[in-house]
Symmetry: C2
Subunit: 218 residues, 2 copies
């Protein structure tokens, strides 16, 4: 019994592309829904031969009716797990209750730090030295649901915000497919609140050997 994955995207779709390119084990991406006309994610899905639909949120009177259309599309595709891959809309209970504990999101910070928009800039401006990304279950809050997996990303002295955004995104491209596969494999369980996937364990000994740390003076 293979797991059927639906992906929601709004933008350029690089996280969608990472999912399309990854070995997801016993899971298939069976549906992609995009809410913004011209979003490159739509073309990526079509290029991969995955059924893709444009459902414009602007065509709906309110969030609930837009969400009802999402649910209809996802159910029609027989989706088991919904993955938000750069999907820039807050979901209402119309979607949340249709897939309870079965909607996951990737967020570009180590939650609970820096929820909401522009998380990499928030981290950069807060002066933190380590940020990262988080895959979590979506609940009614903004980036508040149970954390499934995280990976750390350092902020380098030479970084601009754009550098940091690129580096975090590259790690998202690894972490998100790994989590989807782990869910499909039954190694983590989004609904049970006790997930097991995590990022790499830093070597404490490497703290002093960090290549970006200037050498002590002789």
């Amino acid at each position: 019994m293979r797991m059927r994955i639906g992906v929601l995207a709004s933008g350029s779709g690089t996280n969608l592309q990472a999912l399309l390119d990854a070995d997801l084990g016993p899971a298939d991406i069976v549906s992609v829904v995009v809410n913004v006309e011209g979003a490159k994610a739509l073309a990526r899905a079509e290029a991969a031969g995955v059924p893709a639909r444009l459902i414009r949120h602007r065509d709906f009177a309110d969030r609930e009716s837009f969400d009802a259309a999402l649910v209809e599309a996802l159910r029609a595709a027989g989706v088991d797990l919904v993955v938000l891959a750069g999907f820039m809309r807050i979901l209402t209970p119309v979607v949340l209750d249709a897939f309870p504990g079965r909607i996951i999101n990737v967020h570009p910070s180590l939650l609970p730090a820096f929820p909401g928009v522009d998380a990499q800039r928030q981290a950069f401006e807060a002066g933190v030295r380590i940020t990262g990304c988080t895959v979590h279950v979506v609940d009614a809050g903004v980036d508040t649901g149970p954390i499934l997996a995280q990976a750390a990303v350092p902020i380098l002295e030479t970084d601009t915000v754009v550098d940091l955004q690129r580096r975090v995104l590259a790690v998202e491209h690894q972490l998100l497919p790994a989590v989807v596969r782990a869910i499909a494999d039954g190694r983590i369980f989004p609904a049970d609140g006790r997930p097991r996937l995590r990022g790499p364990e830093p070597d404490p000994g490497a703290v002093l050997a960090c290549p970006s740390l200037p050498e002590p003076t002789p």
Copy 2:
């Protein structure tokens, strides 16, 4: 010109011990002040031949008079940089203004996440997969000052809170002396708000090769 370090401690003093054991480059620990009778930190300082004093906060009518006694002791020792190593008192402007931008603290989380007491338990109970420790400049807030350095620590599936506390502490023992030495070397500047020391850069490729991640099913 060697940098003169004063250390304030309240408890068992393992971070003090890490400082005493480390090569701090052009810096010497010249004074240790402990505020709790029987704190093992006092014995550690004495064993290392470092002048140590007990200044009991309970002997003072208010925070300010206690802080004035701290300042007097630190000034008498000619201290350039004050290091809080498990020091469990909030400092008033009496101390902060006497050593502006020259007081640093180590905190057992990746600030700004989980400030305040019992940070490891806060992280554990929040369900995060990565926490860590932070060395920061002390300001009038609780763990809010400019961040100088951070290191990441994963939370493993098998961890108890005690396991996590031990693992974070072991990383503190590396990071804090590294920061003190970097300040003494002039490689980071606590007062300028643009520090440069950081923890190791995780290998994004290791996300999928994490030894604690169960293998995908064949």
